[in-house]
Structures are given as C-alpha cells and as structure tokens.
C-alpha cells in the first residue's frame, strides 16, 4: 500500500509538480513514459514518488514516445488506470498511437505540456502540439495556471473513464509559462482527491478472463465509417455533459468553479479576445485595466478545446461588437485555427460582430500586457467602425516590418 503524502493546504508548485501529484493521488496503475522537455519533470517527479513508496502502480520507461503511448494503450486495454506526459516533437511521434487510443475507446490521461514544434528546434511554449492533436479524437482540456493543472487532471480521469465516454483525454498546460512557473496551488488530501477521481471501473478489459476480447481489430470499408461515427457521437453528445457534471461536483468539493467556456468581464463587453493557456489570465488583467479607462473589454477562455463547445462559445460572444481570435500556433497557409473555429460557431447566428485574427507567442515569444492593449484598441476601432479597420490576420510581437494577411 502506497504511503500517504502529507501536503500543506497551499503548496507552491509549478504546473509539472501539480500534474505529478494529481497522477500520484489518482493511484494510476501504469505510467509509461519517454520524457521530453518541458514535460520531463512530470514523469521525473512521478518516478521519484514511486521510488519513495508513494505509488503502488508500475512505471515503465519506453524506447520512444510512440512506444510510451503504445504501452499506455496496452495497459489501458488490459484494464488499468493509465497516464503519461509529453510535449512537442514527442507528441508528434505519438500521433499515430493517439488515433489508436481514441478509436479503440481506451481511457488514458495524457498531460501535454505545450511546446513549439521545430524546425527551428525550440523548447519553449506555444500551442503547435495542442493544435496538432485536435483531430485525434481525444478530449482536450486546457489549463491557465498550475492550480488548473492539478484540478483538471483529477477531472480528466473521471470523464475519460466514464463508461458513457471511454475516450482518452489530454490536459494541456503552457510549456514553462505554466509548467515551470511556481504558484500557490490549493491541494486536496490524498484520500479526498482519490475519492473524487473514484475507483477505476474496467470495461471490456483484456484481463477479464471470463470474457476474452480482441482489441485493435481491423475494419475496412464495411465497418470503419460506423465505428468513427460512433466515436464522434460519444465525443459530441456525452463528453460536455460529463465534464460539466465533474465541474459541478468539483465545485461542491473545493469551491473552485470551472466552466466549459470561461468568461471574464463579458456581461456587458463590447470587445472580446478569445484565447487559451496563460494568455487568458494576462488578458483578464488587461481587461480590468482597460475597463478603468472606459473600454468595455472582456475575455473568453477556451477550457474545453475538444469537443469544441460551439454553442457555449456562440452564447458567450453573442452581444459583443468585435472579437479577436488569438492563435499561438503558426497556421501555415490559412487563418488561425481558433479563428476558424469561432467563425464556425458564429456563422448562422445573429451576430454582426467583426472578427479578426492574431498570431502571437510562437516559440515562447512573450505576450505582454502592452500587446493585449494594442489588440483591444484595434477591436475598439473595429467595433466603432462596424467593420475591420485592420487586416484580418496580424502577427503580434514579431520583429521586422509589420506582417499581416487578407
């Protein structure tokens, strides 16, 4: 039996340590990992807990990220609670197996510490890897600070393992800006945290020898479409209500309230930025400062990126006059993904809002408060003019001549 880890009510943890403790408290059966910056400390801390008797489960060092996720899939199909962590190029190497996990309806919690994807090689945070995962069939939950990381990991196990869901879940945090930034994290005792996550309830597990199953079968044209449709049906109908239910229970337990779409200063907002990760909180601070100057600025943060909460987003943005979609990933040949997603959510609604797109923060480039003030000023001009006063897609925080498209 694993030892109990005595925690203070508030620990000063970075996002990685918060994730490590959440995995420890969930009493994961198998963590298979191939460490990569900036997610390395998650599994390093976890291995340390294991070596010191705080973990009963297995820790498997694999030969690659592809092997790590494959091992996770095998362990989860066998009937264990499973988790791991990765970033960037490692995430890219995992991609093939990510589709296997979701298609096989295998619950796994993957901590993705968001990092740029090279070339040029870069260890710092942007959302390229998170965006790469968006068609993989996984649930994607986003965190803005270490407290979120701790809380969302506990919530992710509950949702992912629910028999109505049975889909793997990624918990995203910004590389370095969250993963290596220590902040106060309100903790739960090991017992309370485990009870919230709940005992693992196996389904179609290979270790149920009374009901032998074959996982990972092949289907061709005759069955593949039906399987993918079934997977999409679960992702589209079961996941958001289950996440909401988990958020509600979590609020009752801790007082910390989370929402599918996070809104800040949005009640009477005229202009809004929509973004993810640490940028959400920085934008919140800027919106407070701008409100003191009379600009009705609001912030919409995406908490659940997949399944994309189309209706909740549309509702959050229905009364604003100008919107900025902030994408921290190079769109490589089109508008930013978030801009496209928001367009999809708002098209066919009554909104007449002007929407523009900003590409920012690639490779860890700082998003400063001054940048956000510039963006809000653009939005104010768009709102007043009732049409775009800037190019549709602008690069912000970039050296050299101003770069924009469309």
């Amino acid at each position: 039996m694993a030892d109990t880890f005595e925690l203070r009510d508030i620990e000063v943890w970075d996002g990685n340590m918060a994730a490590s403790h959440a995995l420890r408290q969930a009493q994961v059966d198998v963590v298979a990992a191939y460490p990569i910056t900036p997610s390395t400390p998650i599994v390093e801390n976890y291995a340390n807990f294991k070596a010191n008797g705080y973990i009963d489960g297995e820790f498997v060092m694999t030969e690659s990220e592809h092997g790590a996720m494959s091992c996770c899939i095998g362990a989860a199909a066998a009937g264990g609670r499973v988790a791991t962590a990765t970033s960037s190029q490692g995430f890219a190497l995992m991609v093939e197996t990510l589709y296997s996990a979701s298609g096989m309806r295998i619950p796994i919690v993957l901590n993705v510490v968001n990092r740029a994807i090279g070339a040029p090689l870069n260890v710092n945070g942007d959302h390229s890897d998170m965006y790469m995962g968006r068609d993989s069939g996984w649930i994607q939950i986003d965190c803005y600070n270490p407290q979120n990381v701790y809380d969302m990991n506990l919530i992710a196990f509950r949702v992912s393992e629910d028999h109505d869901v049975r889909l793997p879940a990624m918990v995203h945090q910004d590389g370095f800006m969250t993963s290596h930034t220590a902040q106060g994290v309100k903790t739960l005792s090991d017992e309370v945290a485990y009870n919230f996550v709940g005992e693992y309830k196996p389904m179609n597990d290979m270790l149920d020898l009374d009901h032998p199953v074959t996982h990972g079968v092949q289907t061709e044209e005759d069955w593949h479409f039906e399987h993918k449709a079934r997977q999409q049906h679960a992702l589209m109908t079961a996941v958001i209500p289950k996440i909401q239910a988990a958020f509600d229970d979590f609020e009752k337990l801790t007082g910390r309230k989370y929402n599918i779409v996070e809104t800040y200063n949005m009640d009477d907002a005229e202009v809004a930025v929509v973004c993810m990760g640490t940028s959400v909180e920085t934008a919140e601070e800027v919106s407070n400062e701008l409100r003191a100057q009379g600009i009705k600025a609001g912030v919409v943060g995406i908490r659940v990126f997949r399944p994309f909460p189309l209706e909740q987003i549309a509702a959050a943005l229905k009364d604003v006059k100008a919107i900025a979609a902030l994408d921290r990933s190079s769109p490589h040949g089109t508008v930013g993904a978030l801009f496209n997603e928001l367009s999809g959510a708002l098209f066919n609604t009554d909104t007449k809002a002007v929407m523009t797109n900003y590409i920012y923060g690639l490779g860890g480039r700082d998003l400063t408060k001054a940048h956000l003030v510039e963006i809000y000023n653009d939005l104010k001009a768009n709102a007043d003019a009732g049409k775009p006063t800037t190019p549709l897609q602008q690069y912000i925080g970039l050296r050299g001549p101003k770069l924009s498209f469309f």
Binding site: V12, D14, A182, Q183, S279, E284
Partner: protein, 185 residues
C-alpha cells in the same frame, strides 16, 4: 505587486532561490509566482529568474517585468548581462561582489545614482556551505534590504523548504542567510 528579477548563471540556484522565496511568502497568505527564462542553456550560461508577489491573485503571465528588486548572484554578470533592463526609478539592486558598493559603481558606471547594495554571497556560501551556491545568502540580504520578514520567521521557513537536504547543509544555509543579512551594505 512586488516584482523581483534574479540574474544568475545556470546551476547557481536562482530558480531554487526564486521558488524558495515564493514558498516562504506563500505561507503568509500572499499570492506568488516564481519562474525563469530557459533555453537549452548549458550550466554556467547567464540566465534570469523572476518572482511576483501580491495580495491579490496574480493573473499576469507576461515575462516582461519592470522589477522592484534586481538580485545579481554572480559577480561577473554586472558587466556582461543587462542588469538594468526595464528598470524603474526606484529599482533596488542587491549585487554579489567582493567590491564595496563605491568600488562596484566605479567599475560599472551605469549603476551610478541607483539604489545599490552589495554583499559577497559567493564568499559567504563558500565559507559556510562549502561551495559557491549564492542563492540562499542572497535571500538573507533581500530580507535585510526589503524588511520583508522577520529573520527568525524567514529562516524557520527556509529550513522547511530545504528539508530534503542533510541537516548539516541546512544548518550551513541558515548561517549563510544570517551572514548575508548582517553583511549586506
């Protein structure tokens, strides 16, 4: 909001120092942030670490900072790193050096007219801990200059932060913190 920037070399413990400070401050009910600029830097490369401290929840995640305090824990960085970057009118500098404050300003004129304090954290850590790990003594100097916390409270909490180290090392750190507190000028 109180903001602190550390100038250090990778391996000298600025991140540990910044996180240790955040940990101690957090016990008093304040909100904290501790982070650093990383790259694929080698041990010995110049780097910076940061603290934010506030009574309210800290929402700001920008890396940009106009610091209230600049802590330099390697003597050579005064000359090779941009330690006055984004300074404010009242930014306070605490610098590790074997020089007196007057000698230091004479050798680095851009510090003239600023609030500069000096303390030899390298020597203190060598003489107490046995190696050049100047992070904890710098915190002792910060306590003196800022008047942030009572010294006994601070040492008690730092001992808790360092609890995984051997008792001998913890004791040496406590002496180093106290010496820097007493010696900073």
């Amino acid at each position: 909001m109180l903001e602190i920037r550390w100038h250090s070399r990778a391996g000298q413990g600025a991140v540990t120092g910044a996180k240790g400070l955040a940990d101690v401050v957090s016990t008093t009910g304040k909100h904290v942030q501790a982070f650093a600029f990383y790259g694929s830097a080698k041990r010995g490369a110049a780097m910076t670490a940061y603290n934010r401290i506030d009574d309210k929840v800290i929402l700001n995640h920008e890396k940009f900072m106009s610091p209230d305090y600049v802590l330099v824990i390697d003597p050579a960085l005064v000359y090779v790193a941009d330690i006055t970057a984004n300074e404010k009118e009242n930014t306070t500098y605490i610098i590790t050096t074997h020089l007196s404050t007057e000698e230091l300003i004479a050798s680095q004129p851009k510090l003239a007219g600023k609030k500069v304090y000096t303390v030899d954290c390298i020597k203190i850590s060598q003489e107490t801990i046995g190696k050049a790990i100047p992070n904890t003594p710098m915190l002792g100097a910060l306590m003196k200059v800022s008047g942030m916390y009572d010294m006994e409270f601070f040492k008690e909490n730092m001992a808790r932060v360092l609890k995984k180290l051997p008792q001998k090392i913890i004791d040496a750190n406590m002496i180093a913190i106290q010496r820097a507190y007493d010696e900073v000028k």
